[in-house]
């Protein structure tokens, strides 16, 4: 069971004067419009609780003014919650002193901004180095790390350019590289692609998915675009007027929308192009490692009424599958010599629309793998049909 990276507990964020009065009015159940008129105080986030698991891509979606940017800024204390707790790895960061907060920001959490937030007086390289520079890392070391990050986001050769010489998409790549250089465990992305034109946005989404797949970081991603949210998110939270409306896997929004607001939000979404395999896939019922004994695997297959299972090595890399029929005749040794290596697999970040050709209607489980060819789950025709029809 993956553990929680972030726990947002009853966080309320109020801007401006009269905070106490605004909080009181919230408790009395007054609407935030009413509070704004009476006290001149803006309620950014209203009593939101969330749990974000380690390694997941968590998307917070909502219209402008829904409090999503205010909420994400609580996660590195750019906004200090007026009330409530925010736990990262079990520690309440609201209680951090200046030094602890600096350490958190330097090593654990980094952020990507909607309008890039690049330092216009510094070159691409110097921008990317910034996070390491403030840590006091030696010149050579930080240069190496920065160059590696620049290469990863595909900007090799642009190191000595200034931000104003780059296009929007390239600027955001710099922003992303800068956020990745200090190897954070948690990446906060505040509408990173909203300022980009649609084609570039699609490219960046794909790129982000491949980077995420590769690095396995926890990412909190903000967007106002439902399509983007469902394309990217392992789980999605929908905010409205500072309150949480619904949270769950993209499929769950379609299966049981919490209310009419959610229904209207997802109305025009083509699910097959938005739902990703990893949000629909299941864990395999039976799974073997190449060193498992044949007898053991046979027993497990029989118990679960399966006639085949996928086999990985101890690093979870997918090797192939073994069939019950083949193993029945053997009584000793491990399964490694019986692995069938011709098989279809699907990458976990592909969209359901892309899987049709690989899934026939016979309903056998197809392996789902990540970039490193590790087995992440299985999916069959029925899973896809039920996800799309739900």
């Amino acid at each position: 069971m993956p553990k929680n990276k972030i726990e947002v507990k009853n966080v309320t964020l109020v801007f401006g004067k009269n905070r106490e009065r605004a909080l009181k009015m919230l408790d009395e159940g007054k609407s935030i419009q009413e509070i704004r008129e009476k006290t001149g105080t803006a309620v950014g986030v209203n009593n939101v609780s969330l749990e974000i698991e380690e390694g997941e891509m968590f998307v917070i979606v909502g219209l402008s003014g829904s409090g999503k940017s205010s909420l994400i800024r609580c996660m590195n204390m750019l906004n200090v919650p007026t009330r409530g707790e925010l736990l990262i790895d079990g520690e309440n960061i609201c209680e951090y002193d200046k030094k602890q907060l600096r350490a958190l920001r330097r090593h654990k959490v980094s952020m990507v901004f909607q309008h890039f937030g690049l330092l216009s007086h510094r070159t691409v390289l110097k921008n990317v180095e910034y996070g390491l520079e403030v840590q006091g890392m030696a010149d050579d070391e930080r240069r190496q790390k920065a160059l590696a990050a620049i290469e990863m986001v595909g900007l090799k050769g642009w190191e000595s350019y200034f931000p104003r010489q780059l296009s929007g998409g390239m600027k955001q790549r710099v922003g992303l590289a800068r956020a990745l250089t200090n190897e954070p465990e948690l990446l906060l992305m505040d509408e990173p692609f909203s300022a980009l034109d649609p084609l570039i946005r699609r490219d960046m989404q794909t790129e982000l998915l491949s980077i995420e797949d590769y690095m396995d970081k926890t990412i909190v991603f903000i967007t106002h675009d439902m399509n983007e949210a469902f394309r990217l998110g392992d789980r999605v939270a929908l905010l409205k007027d500072g309150e949480l409306v619904q949270v769950g896997k993209p499929g769950e929004f379609f299966e049981n929308p919490a209310n009419d607001y959610v229904r209207s939000f997802i109305e025009d979404v083509d699910k097959s192009r938005i739902l990703r395999v990893k949000t629909v896939m299941r864990q395999p019922v039976v799974q073997a490692v190449d060193k498992d004994y044949v007898t053991d695997v046979v027993r497990r297959l029989k118990e679960n009424e399966r006639d085949f299972c996928y086999v990985t090595n101890d690093k979870k890399e997918l090797l192939g599958y073994v069939e019950l029929e083949t193993l029945m005749d053997v009584n000793q040794g491990d399964v490694s010599s019986f692995i069938v290596k011709e098989f279809e697999s699907i990458t976990r970040n592909s969209f359901l629309a892309e899987t049709y050709s690989k899934l026939d209607e016979s309903n056998y489980d197809v392996a789902v793998v990540d970039n490193k060819n590790c087995l992440r789950g299985v999916i069959n025709h029925e899973d896809v049909v039920s996800a799309l029809s739900g």
Binding site: L78, R105, G117, S120, H121, V134, Q135
Partner: protein, 283 residues
């Protein structure tokens, strides 16, 4: 119309006089020290400018104009400076220039920290902004009086009066430059765990640099204007030439000296602006 009642009187001129007198008596040592410091800086800067042969200055200016703008600007600027020499005002111009340079230096030393303080502290901003407004509205002659009282006649009071008159735009633009740094850029700096000092020197100050350069330019131009008026309290230089011409009603002399001041102002303005633009491009 009925006159304002004679009995309703409360003048602030007397307390101010008393205050100044008290300062004069009790802080004599301080004023002496300031005076001596400014004089020694003055002599150093003047010495440097005087050992430069006139043609080196003109060639350097030509080169600067050429590199910062184009060949034509280089020629025009150096011809202007050459004309000042032709008018027989070269030595006086150097003198004027020294007062301007020192006033700008003092303005930088005092103005940058004040501007930064205003950007950081709301209280400081609320106190200093109206003072700046008042300073910029106050007739420039008024600054001559305390200058004379504290420092007597000569170059030191001239530097004092010039600095007081010229410093507001630098403070204001430093404050605006730092206060107006893009919000996301500030957030980005914070989100990577910068300390306050790192924020200031690695982000805010460099981002505000072009505004600050504009401030330096405006301060220099105001110093040029004030240095002429300072001739009334014994500052030598081209301004003194204008003053003499007024007294003797010599139209030609006066116009010539006035033109020299205009030329010097244009030269300073162009060079500083060019440098500011260049700085903005490379940074």
């Amino acid at each position: 119309m009925i006159g304002f009642p004679e009995s309703l009187r409360f003048e602030i001129s007397e307390p101010i006089d008393q205050c100044v007198n008290w300062l004069l008596i009790n802080l004599e040592g301080l004023f002496d020290a300031i005076s001596r410091t400014i004089l020694s800086i003055f002599n150093a800067v003047e010495w440097v400018l005087n050992i430069l042969p006139w043609w080196v200055v003109i060639i350097a200016l030509f080169y600067a104009g050429w590199k910062l703008y184009n060949l034509k600007t280089g020629i025009v600027l150096s011809v202007m400076l050459f004309c000042i020499g032709l008018f027989g005002l070269w030595d006086l111009m150097i003198y004027t220039l020294v007062i301007v340079i020192i006033s700008v230096m003092v303005s930088l030393v005092l103005g940058l920290p004040v501007g930064i303080l205003m950007a950081k502290s709301n209280l400081a901003k609320q106190i200093i902004l109206p003072i700046l407004d008042a300073m910029q509205t106050m007739p420039s002659f008024v600054y001559l009086i305390p200058a004379v009282m504290f420092f007597g006649f000569g170059k030191v009071p001239a530097v004092f009066a010039t600095t007081t008159y010229a410093i507001p735009p630098l403070i204001r633009l430093t404050y605006l430059g730092i206060a107006n740094v893009n919000r996301e850029v500030i957030e980005a700096g914070k989100s990577f765990g910068s300390t306050s000092a790192q924020m200031l020197f690695k982000i805010e100050f460099p981002q505000a640099l072009s505004a600050i350069m504009t401030g330096i330019n405006q301060t220099t131009m105001m110093a040029m204007a004030m240095v002429v008026i300072s001739s009334m309290i014994g500052a030598e230089g081209i301004g003194e030439q204008v003053l003499i011409s007024i007294r003797r009603l010599e139209v030609g002399q006066g116009f010539q000296a006035g033109l020299a001041i205009v030329f010097l102002a244009i030269v300073l303005d162009r060079v500083l602006q060019g440098a500011a633009v260049r700085l903005k491009e490379t940074e």
